[in-house]
């Protein structure tokens, strides 16, 4: 009896490690190894000797921090980062604001058509980013767009949506369109988890629906808002598909519009995998810094709320 118990507890001790083997192996091969390799490459460069002909003329050598100083002083990368920052300042507040608004509306009493509209707003999640950008891209083209048709009939000016400032709005719109529904569902499900008694008590105290929304609902779904903020910030920093898809439709999206696009161009267009690796490491580092900074700020905020 005693020995079986011991054997089983040994089995239980080894079991979790055995269960985690597939994930660990995949992580090592497709996450850790590539990250390590990117780090290694970022400290290397190619030295060309002589005319660069013949074997041994191109040698890979240690570069120290050269690739990093190059990347940090690269104005194209900086401009890409600033563009993405501007884009994120539009996308994140608008998308989450709309998601919260729709979630509150869905959750309000006596609302009509809630299941149908909920499904409709969630639907863009099923549309791949590339296809979404493609659809909106056509809707931005004066020759085929209904907006331009209407503007034309009304005799109003027809702005070029794919150039200059409007391009930011055009790109942001694609992200807002694609992401609002998903975030709405996350917020809505946590609204549904609030017990009905809370509202009963508030109503007895004479609270209006608006007060209930502002004073009770929004604070109670704060953790979901933090989560959606977190994922939205990460997704924004990594924007790649939408500007890449719009590129064939306009001349004003450059191959280095976002930092990730520049990494791709440098690695595969220019063949400078070392410089691209250093830039990639910098972007990853900035992402980590921003996300952890955000999480810490959110945690501190929540602790303060709890203490009150």
């Amino acid at each position: 009896m005693k020995s079986t118990a011991r054997r089983q507890s040994y089995g239980a001790k080894g079991a979790p490690y055995a269960f985690l083997v597939p994930a660990t192996v995949l992580f090592a091969l497709f996450f850790a190894l590539p990250i390590g390799y990117a780090l290694w490459l970022s400290f290397r460069k190619v030295r060309v000797s002589g005319l660069g002909l013949g074997s041994g003329a191109r040698r890979e050598v240690w570069a120290g921090l050269e690739n990093y100083t190059d990347a940090l002083s690269d104005s194209e990368l900086l401009h890409g980062a600033l563009r993405v920052l501007g884009y994120g300042c539009i996308v994140v507040p608008v998308m989450l604001g709309l998601a919260l608004l729709f979630a509150l509306m869905l959750d309000s009493e006596k609302v009509r058509l809630a299941p149908v509209t909920r499904l409709a707003i969630f639907l863009p999640y099923a549309v791949p980013g590339v296809v979404a950008a493609l659809l909106w891209g056509f809707l931005y083209l004066p020759d085929v767009s209904p907006f331009y048709f209407v503007l034309d009939r009304l005799g109003m000016p027809q702005p070029d949506l794919l150039d200059g400032g409007p391009l930011y709005l055009a790109l942001s719109n694609i992200a807002v369109w694609g992401g609002t529904g998903f975030n709405m569902i996350v917020i809505y499900t946590s609204l549904q988890a609030i017990p009905a008694e809370v509202y009963e008590a508030a109503k007895l105290d004479g609270a209006t629906p608006l007060q209930i929304a502002l004073r009770i609902k929004i604070p109670m779904v704060a953790p979901s808002l933090v989560l959606t903020f977190f994922f939205s910030i990460i997704a924004t920093l990594q924007v790649y598909n939408e500007p890449t898809t719009l590129k064939p439709l306009t001349n004003s999206v450059s191959t280095t519009w976002s930092p990730l696009m520049k990494v791709y161009r440098d690695a595969f267009g220019e063949g400078d995998i070392y410089g691209a690796a250093a830039q990639a490491v910098i972007i990853a580092f900035a992402t980590l810094l921003l996300s952890f900074g955000f999480l810490r700020a959110a945690n501190r905020r929540q602790k303060q709320e709890a203490a009150r």
Binding site: F31, P128, A193, P248
Partner: protein, 302 residues
């Protein structure tokens, strides 16, 4: 946490009619604002979809000449042209996407389930470390991974193959995270303990007892990962050069790129986009009642 098992919470019952009935006009107005807001949101979200449905019916000249929301006459021709394009490579892209997303999501759900179960039910050294390291994977920008993944797979002579797109997508940190949350909620510790008392092996406990309890949550994980792989663009873009192996996202993108020079291809791109949206929308309509998005809010609360 018990709310996890309930796919959709019932609308709150027992609203107090007395207080509201005193002010009928206010009540009507309040019901109107949310409904109108949601309708506007729905129109905004359906607009591009409605556009592509109609645009796909238009022949080339009609696309540029008739009003956008006026149906055309060329849908059958468009589908025929699209199917004829490069010997039906379009349908090959669709089949590829189904393979990448279907097989990839299935494998990755299995990995998520077994890892999430282990992380949720056992207490062992390094548990939190392993979990946190896996989760940090979420934060890695895809291109940071994809470029060195490409270079490493090139060394192994595996680029431009189905494997090069399938393998890197099997481990989804977010899926492991969701599976852990779900396993913690759905698999009671005493049931696992009872299995041990009966002398079942740990693997048998997992496959026979825990896994069936985890199925509803794993359906959600499968769908998330299916959508994520179906929508992926960057990884196949970097890995593949042979367009017979392209998924639909990459195929449509290359078609659009060529269309910039030959506007005749625009009708193909639009028809292709319309047909590419159909399977996922259909999937959504069928399964939206089954999948428990509560999992997400449950994840937030823990």
């Amino acid at each position: 946490m018990s709310s996890l098992a309930v796919p959709q919470a019932e609308p709150r019952a027992g609203s107090t009619p007395g207080t509201v009935q005193d002010r009928p006009p206010l009540r009507r107005r309040i019901a109107l604002i949310p409904t109108v807001t949601l309708l506007l949101g729905a129109i905004y979200c359906l607009l591009p979809v409605a556009w592509v449905v109609i645009a796909a019916t238009k022949s080339g000249p009609e696309l540029f000449s008739t009003f956008t929301f006026l149906p055309g006459t060329g849908f059958a021709d468009n589908v025929r042209d699209l199917s004829a394009y490069r010997d039906g490579v379009y349908w090959q892209w669709m089949a590829n996407s189904a393979l990448y997303a279907g097989l990839g999501a299935l494998l990755s759900t299995c990995v998520s389930a077994v890892s999430g179960y282990a992380l949720a039910t056992y207490r062992f050294r390094g548990r939190e470390t392993i979990f946190n390291v896996l989760l940090a994977g979420v934060l890695m920008p895809p291109v940071i991974l994809a470029v060195p993944q490409y270079l490493l797979l090139a060394k192994a002579d595996l680029t431009d193959s189905y494997v090069s797109v399938l393998l890197p997508q099997i481990l989804f940190p977010y899926g492991v995270y969701l599976a852990r949350i779900y396993a913690a909620a759905a698999v009671p510790a005493d049931v696992v303990e009872a299995g041990r008392m009966d002398g079942a092996s740990e693997w048998r406990i997992f496959t026979r007892i825990a896994l069936p309890m985890m199925i509803p949550g794993m359906v959600t994980v499968f769908l998330f990962q299916f959508v994520a792989i179906w929508n992926n663009f960057l990884l196949p873009y970097i890995m593949l050069s042979d367009d017979e192996k392209f998924p639909i996202t990459l195929g449509l993108f290359t078609l659009l790129e060529q269309g910039a020079n030959t506007p005749a291809l625009y009708t193909l791109v639009i028809t292709g986009a319309f047909l590419a949206v159909l399977p996922l929308v259909a999937l959504f309509l069928v399964i939206q009642r089954f999948w428990s998005l509560d999992l997400l809010s449950g994840a937030v609360k823990s």
